[in-house]
């Protein structure tokens, strides 16, 4: 299937708070934005790491949760009609001969944009891999960090490791179709919906699955096909668990990912920028928020907002060198108010 190329002013990589606010600032300057995020939702770290934790240092919001901040930024950006592309990781970024940029995602989306804004925070969220020796040999064959198609696990002897919602949900959802289901977790406390925990315990009661306390210390098998694991129990005794499929669910962590391959200057996994334009070593590619670095950089959401505003001024001049850009205030400019849909 060939994908149609999406043409736009700006591709923003990352739909966290800085990417969302950049839509607003760029929108005031008539720049249309597409946002791409590896997560299935907007908000970046605010949504993935601490949706319910209060944030106290957003100007004029004495306390706000990561979730609410995300919702408000989405609302603020909405008048500018941003297009969101979730579950997509930007893999390739290249400059075209006409000065624009081509952006390709792992899901096959292709964009052509006048400017690119990297607002990728700590990089791309990827599943945490448990530090079990030799696990790489099994990955993709009998060890999987996500469930793309449930059917792939029909009649398998599945062992799920973890104590969060993903571990519990997949235990419950896969149990009816697998040959055998076992769950392993290091303690009898879960970070999951109480209802899911109760359901899991009920399945154990009905002898439809087994639950083990402990941690996997070794994998056994041949040619990437798992046959069993060694578990260190909580009383330090070791025991074996037979299984042909292992699904570890230990949450997500951030990795720089493909950004390292785009030919940009990097410094300790961060993208150096200047503090006038927040431009990278490649003219037309900008970087804002936690992913960038410059003398005095503070990794604060409010710094990212400031960076978004200054970056936008530079980005519009790069994209439309002949356009006359005047600086205006939303309080007094009728033209800005029209764009916001309030005048």
């Amino acid at each position: 299937m060939t994908q149609e190329t999406i043409s736009t002013d700006v591709v923003i990589i990352g739909a966290g708070p800085c990417g969302l606010f950049a839509v607003f600032e760029l929108g005031l300057l008539d720049m249309k934005c597409h946002l791409i995020d590896i997560l299935d939702k907007p908000g970046g770290q605010c949504a993935e790491l601490y949706p319910e934790k209060p944030i106290y240092d957003i100007p004029a919001l004495p306390v706000v949760s990561g979730q609410e901040l995300t919702e408000r930024l989405m609302e603020q950006a909405e008048p500018f009609g941003p297009q969101y592309h979730y579950n997509e990781m930007v893999e390739e970024l290249e400059k075209l001969e006409d000065g624009r940029f081509r952006v390709k995602t792992d899901g096959g989306l292709v964009f052509e944009a006048k400017v690119v804004v990297i607002a990728a925070g700590g990089g791309s969220f990827q599943p945490k891999k448990p530090p079990i020796p030799g696990i790489e040999a099994y990955e993709g064959k009998s060890v999987f960090y996500s469930v793309k198609r449930m059917e792939n696990f029909r009649n398998k002897n599945v062992l799920i490791s973890g104590g969060g919602d993903s571990a519990l949900d997949w235990t419950i959802n896969l149990q009816p179709i697998v040959q055998s289901m076992q769950l392993i977790h290091r303690r009898d406390g879960f970070r999951a919906a109480p209802d899911s925990v109760n359901k899991m315990h009920a399945l154990v009661e009905e002898k439809k699955m087994q639950f083990h306390l402990g941690q996997i210390t070794a994998l056994h098998g041949d040619n990437g096909q798992l046959e069993g694991v060694t578990v260190k129990g909580n009383d330090n005794n070791e025991f074996q668990v037979e299984c042909d499929t292992l699904l570890p669910f230990f949450g997500l962590t951030m990795k720089l990912g493909p950004i390292a391959n785009w030919g940009l200057n990097l410094h300790e996994n961060l993208v150096p920028v200047d503090t006038e334009k927040f431009q990278t070593s490649e003219p037309g590619i900008f970087a804002i928020g936690d992913i960038n670095t410059y003398p005095g950089k503070l990794k604060l959401i409010l710094s990212g907002f400031h960076e978004a505003a200054l970056m936008s001024q530079a980005a519009v001049r790069y994209a439309y060198p002949d356009a006359k850009v005047t600086f205006q205030y939303t309080t007094s400019s009728t033209s800005l108010q029209k764009k916001l849909g309030v005048a």
């Binding site: 790491l49 973890g162 104590g163 996994n269």
Partner: protein, 107 residues
């Protein structure tokens, strides 16, 4: 006041500690490549340390959210999140080893 940090290669470092600071912040302030990606919100688990067993009993019990994060990060018997350990004079001399998961990969 000081803490003793064992780095990824097992080398010992003596760090000047500040009362009221999180152990994670002290380690980060010295420039060690600690991941600590959530910045101390007990939300990521990437500031994990192994506490010397002799010191473990002197620390407060981990709260539920810290236990959750240790679950997600393959914590062992002596594992704690260094963002949840706040320096007090009683902890002068605390010995911790930086967990592999807490060490930032070289760029």
């Amino acid at each position: 006041m000081r803490i003793i940090l064992l780095d990824g290669k097992g080398r010992e470092h003596e760090l000047e500690a500040v009362e009221g600071w999180r152990v994670m912040e002290i380690i980060r302030d010295y420039g060690f490549p600690i991941v600590a990606e959530c910045g101390g919100a007990c939300a990521c688990g990437t500031c994990q340390v192994e506490v010397d067993p002799e010191w473990a009993a002197k620390l407060h019990e981990p709260r539920e959210d810290e236990l959750d994060m240790l679950d997600q990060n393959y914590g062992g018997d002596w594992s704690r999140l260094s963002c949840q350990l706040i320096m007090t004079p009683e902890l002068d001399g605390l010995r911790v080893r930086l967990a592999d998961i807490a060490i930032r990969e070289a760029a």
